[in-house]
Amino acid sequence: MEFTGRVWKFGKDIDTDAIIPARYMNTSVPEELAKHCMEDADPTFPQKVQNGDIIVADKNFGCGSSREHAPICIRAAGVSCVIAKSFARIFFRNAINIGLPIFECPEAVDGIREGDVIQVNADSGVIFNMTTGQTYTAKALDASMQEIIRNGGLMEYVKTRLSEAKA
């Protein structure tokens, strides 16, 4: 898996309320949630984000509640992956489970600027900044995590595994 996209940068401790404010959680339809993605961190984000864009954030991204709506709305907004210095525990779990690729790489976060175009190889963890020519290496996602993400989330992955078992 490889992703190429333009970077939007965010600071540290972006919590789940900033990612998707609770006031919009009267629905769980991904497209509806996407209309408010990151709204409380950057009100213009839902308008400017484009398919394939990449979020690069400081430490503890996704802290706060256990809502699965947070990674769901990021994915539905078209974001291809998120790179951060670190992720909060439940967000990390939920992101993998719903099929949003995430990478931890403090050097990349320090080196990449907003608007840079970067390429992320999920298998090797290599992040190439096409704008500056710099290369960073994130810890590659474990093969089993990649399989979950490639399948579009844990339940889709379960479906695939079950049908394989039957075949």
């Binding site: 525990r89 990390f92 810890k139 474990d142 089993s144 995590m145 844990l154 595994r161």
Partner: protein, 420 residues
């Protein structure tokens, strides 16, 4: 480099020789648990993928405990979803009214958890089973659904913190006091994402019931799991209940810990956690004058036979204070039966307590003892968040069974020696 007990169990279940903290693994599950509140959410996910069979009908455990016997129509409907699922998939371990108990009291008692197991449960206090030397942790609905279908879950291997409790436990200091003291010390996020390994001579001395109380509250410090290596006591407990093969793991001498925290238990006294966080602890002698409306003795933290014995010993021949409603809710049917046999139930009833059938009941503000605005309860449960037992302006104080029983008699929070 050596490994901790948690790392060893996870490595074995991932088919690896070694694992390191931070590593992502896929582990085989020995047991998958859900209750009447959390199972319906996972069942909905499983219906979406047209599940044809569960990974192992003997290893999926469904316990009807939160709002059971059904407290209202909505809870009856929820329970029915679980009941229908259990029948459809012929689930061996579905515990319903008459057989049920509070899940974290019931599973160890039934011999369903053994040392070295990996257990996930859609309930945050699944960490209780760490007291048996198992790796057990709470998960969300999607994880649980996948666990039911595949018998696998993915984990990020946690770092471990080693807690050493040394010295001889003072007579009135219980497992509950050790864990409350620990949470008060490190805070409600003190072990975030980490494994809490409980060791030391005071832990060796604790009964299985006391150890379960400690592991139960690992989540209250943010821990991913709490764990106590199995010893002769654990083995005796398990072998009395099951013939299932199991494996005992110990941490290596040179295992790597994020921190080692030591406590001298001889200096401790019973602890009370004030509203509204389990970390707001004070020694009971510094509690001041706190009058009570209700005292609750029970839950997955302190609803076991030893807890009832401790409480009954204090209440024998005494009466609950006239301003206090004291509610006893034992963990399981077997515990109720044993308490009857030992005459504990009679002591409670003579002391003017209400004795409930096993249920989560007031612990989560469900039913059987909800607080009105401004009311105050002392409880042997594990959480005292805002509104946990009823009205958002009510208060919950946490303590062990001896402080709870003594305070029920006194009508205010007291040290157990005050009612002797």
């Amino acid at each position: 480099m050596g490994m901790t007990i948690t790392e060893k169990i996870l490595a074995a279940h991932a088919g690896k020789a070694t694992v390191e903290p931070g590593e992502l693994i896929r582990a085989k599950l020995d047991l998958v648990l859900a209750n009447d509140v959390t199972a319906p959410v996972s069942i909905k996910e499983l219906e979406k993928i047209n599940l044809e069979q569960v990974f192992d009908k003997d290893k999926v455990v469904l316990v009807q405990d939160h709002f059971v016997p059904a407290k209202d129509i909505k809870s009856a409907e929820q329970s029915k979803v679980v009941r229908d699922f259990a029948r459809k998939f012929d689930i061996t371990n579905h515990f319903d009214v008459g057989e049920m108990g509070i899940e974290h009291c019931l599973l160890p008692e039934k011999g369903l958890v053994t040392p070295g197991d990996v257990v996930i449960g859609a309930d945050s206090h699944t960490c209780t089973y760490g007291a048996l030397g198992a790796f057990a942790t709470g998960v969300g609905s999607t994880d649980l659904a996948a666990g039911i279908a595949l018998g696998e879950a993915w984990f990020k291997v946690p770092e471990s913190i080693k807690f050493e409790y040394d010295g001889k436990l003072p007579e009135d200091v219980t497992g509950k006091d050790l864990i409350l003291h620990t949470i008060g010390d490190i805070g409600v996020d003190g072990a975030l994402y980490q494994s809490m390994e409980f060791t030391g001579s005071a832990i060796d001395e604790l009964s299985m019931d006391g150890r379960m109380t400690m592991a139960n509250m690992a989540i209250e410090a943010g821990g991913k799991n709490g764990i106590i290596a199995a010893d002769q006591k654990t083995i005796a407990y398990v072998e009395e209940r099951t013939n299932k093969p199991y494996k005992v793991y110990q941490s290596d001498e040179d295992a790597k810990y994020n921190r080692v925290i030591k406590y001298d238990v001889e200096k401790l006294e019973p602890v009370v956690a004030f509203p509204h966080l389990p970390e707001n602890t004070r020694p009971v002698s510094e509690a001041g004058h706190v009058e009570l409306d209700q005292v609750v003795i029970g839950s997955c933290t302190n609803g076991r036979i030893e807890d009832l014995r401790v409480a009954a010993k204090i209440m024998q021949g005494k009466k609950v204070h006239k301003n206090v409603r004291c509610i006893i809710f034992p963990g399981t049917q077997a515990i109720v039966k044993q308490a009857m046999k030992e005459g504990l139930i009679e002591i409670f009833i003579d002391a003017r307590c209400a004795v409930s059938t096993p249920t989560c009941g007031p612990c989560l503000g469900g039913h059987m003892g909800i607080l009105a605005k401004g009311e105050r309860s002392l409880a042997t449960t594990n959480r005292n968040f805002v509104g946990r037992m009823g009205h958002p302006e009510s208060e919950v104080y946490l303590c062990g069974p001896n402080v709870a029983a003594a305070s029920a008699i006194a009508g205010r929070i007291v040290h157990p020696r005050e009612v002797e």
